[in-house]
Symmetry: C2
Subunit: 313 residues, 2 copies
């Protein structure tokens, strides 16, 4: 369900490096190579480039490229775990409400192994732990949700305990009605149960109590914490719908939120971007490609479209 | 600082397996082999044993051995990460106050990598996550401390931020005086900071406020949660003192707590048991060996002494 396209046969890594070395004034060439190599291939290119020219490809790209295009190329070239560590770090430094959403996305839309690899990379690059920085820079209910989210190493097997799904659906319903303990039980279940188990619990919830849980968490639409809870549930259980919404909000309205648009395209192109595109068309009746063309331009537009599977050169 | 002794030259793995196969009625032979092989060597023996005889060595041992000796051999034969997963699981199932201490020990006295490997093994064996079970089976303040403890992946480099150590020492002092938020800030600092950073913070605390932090956390000696907090601090910052105390309490008084004694000897023999022995002598003016001989007997005694570095044959 990835949109990334990789050429067959794949050119030798040495050739990619040589073409990149010559291509720093030629953005189309950069796109034609990097936007069509997967994470392992990009890692090989970076390594070979360093061995051949004694310079980090990423630094060479940064010194030539700028703006939204430069940012997209930079994030894309990174290994996914390095990218997650960087994006999480930047979000924590900004420390705005939107930072919480970036953190929950990294914590919830990755496999357990991928999230752990992001935490390892955070150690290596920033000399401290991801959860340490999240805990230090958040407070109150936000901390109570975000710290266990980023610290989780969820079981990711398919086994589901239906009895538990039933009993925890009842707990959730009771606690939401009581607004108990700042939703301590809801946070426990959301942050520790496997995604398969959580889906079963939320299905039981809907079957027994009539509403989707997110509807019952909408009693106060202006409550920032409830909004974050609802988004976490969406990101954990229906990632393609979550990403569709992030992309939609980044495009609709005044101006474009390039930060969010780039993040989604770059992080999902190798994963499930096809499903996000399908979901986008279903929800908006316009192809995502058309909306991206309307809202972006130049090399940035070409880079995004290449990652969505279009060949530009 | 391990007490484990391994023969030079090491016998071939095949020979070890063959001797073990013949030795199931001969406890001395089992001790003479297994109690003198390190974790990787024991793993090789288990693997080769399985390949040669089509049977798990551990099951073969379990069917022949019993009691405290059987338990010690079983735990010792496991890979440390498998053992931690099993011991944590059993503690959660028992769900007594002493379970909390076992969990904090596994979470605090391991390297970040070792704790993560225990979590991986927990997935593989129990089809759910360690933090999921801890969160499910604890409540209130105990949950607030134990879940982040077992979920942590602490930075373990040597870098210390002295400014942060200073400011967090002040925060800790203020919050302890106020008894604020069930020690939320204390829990954050204890469960997320690297051990080096935490030691620096607690040194600042002592320098600035005159007392060891654990003295200030002793306002109510009967408060179980404060006791758990103090023990966590001790285990994180002075593991050899923590383990000395666990061993001392397991031996002193009426009867012996073989569960605790076995756990410490088996988990520390390959790590820092020499320092625990030194600490024991300093604190009790009696060698640990002497007290173990006084409190245990037979093959169990011989197994513990072998792990403490004595050769029995």
């Amino acid at each position: 369900m990835a949109t990334l396209t990789v050429p067959h046969p794949l050119p030798p890594v040495d050739d990619d490096c040589e073409r990149l070395r010559k291509a720093f004034q030629d953005e189309a060439a950069i796109i034609s190579i990097l936007a069509h190599r997967n994470a392992n291939q990009r890692s090989s290119i970076r390594q070979t480039y360093f061995e051949t020219y004694g310079e980090d490809l990423l630094k060479a790209l940064d010194s030539e490229l700028s703006g939204d295009f430069g940012r997209a190329v930079h994030l894309w070239t990174l290994h996914p775990a390095e990218r997650d560590a960087l994006v999480a770090y930047e979000a924590i430094r900004k420390n705005t409400t939107s930072s919480y959403y970036v953190l929950l996305e990294i914590a919830s839309a990755r496999t357990s192994r991928e999230l752990f690899q992001a935490r390892e990379n955070y150690h290596a690059r920033f000399k401290r732990s991801l959860e340490e920085d999240v805990a230090h820079h958040t407070t109150g209910d936000f901390r109570k949700l975000l710290v266990p989210l980023v610290s989780a190493y969820r079981y990711d097997g398919p086994e589901v305990n239906m009895g538990l799904a039933n009993s925890e659906a009842i707990i959730l319903h009771e606690k939401i009605l009581e607004k108990a303990d700042n939703h301590e039980e809801l946070i426990r279940i959301l942050t520790t149960r496997s995604k398969a188990q959580l889906s079963a619990t939320l299905n039981h919830y809907k079957d027994q109590f009539g509403n989707n849980i997110n509807k019952d968490l909408k009693t106060d639409p202006k409550d920032d914490f409830l909004a974050l809870l609802r988004t976490t549930i969406k990101c954990l259980t229906s990632p393609e719908k979550y990403f569709e919404k992030v992309v939609r909000f980044s495009i609709k309205g005044l101006g474009t939120d390039e930060e969010a648009l780039t993040r989604v395209v770059v992080t999902r192109a190798e994963v499930d971007m096809k499903r996000v595109i399908e979901e986008y068309y279903r929800r908006n009746s316009v192809p995502l490609e058309t909306d991206i063309k309307g809202d972006t331009s130049g090399d940035y537009e070409r880079m995004l479209l290449a990652l969505l599977g279009h060949h530009n050169g």
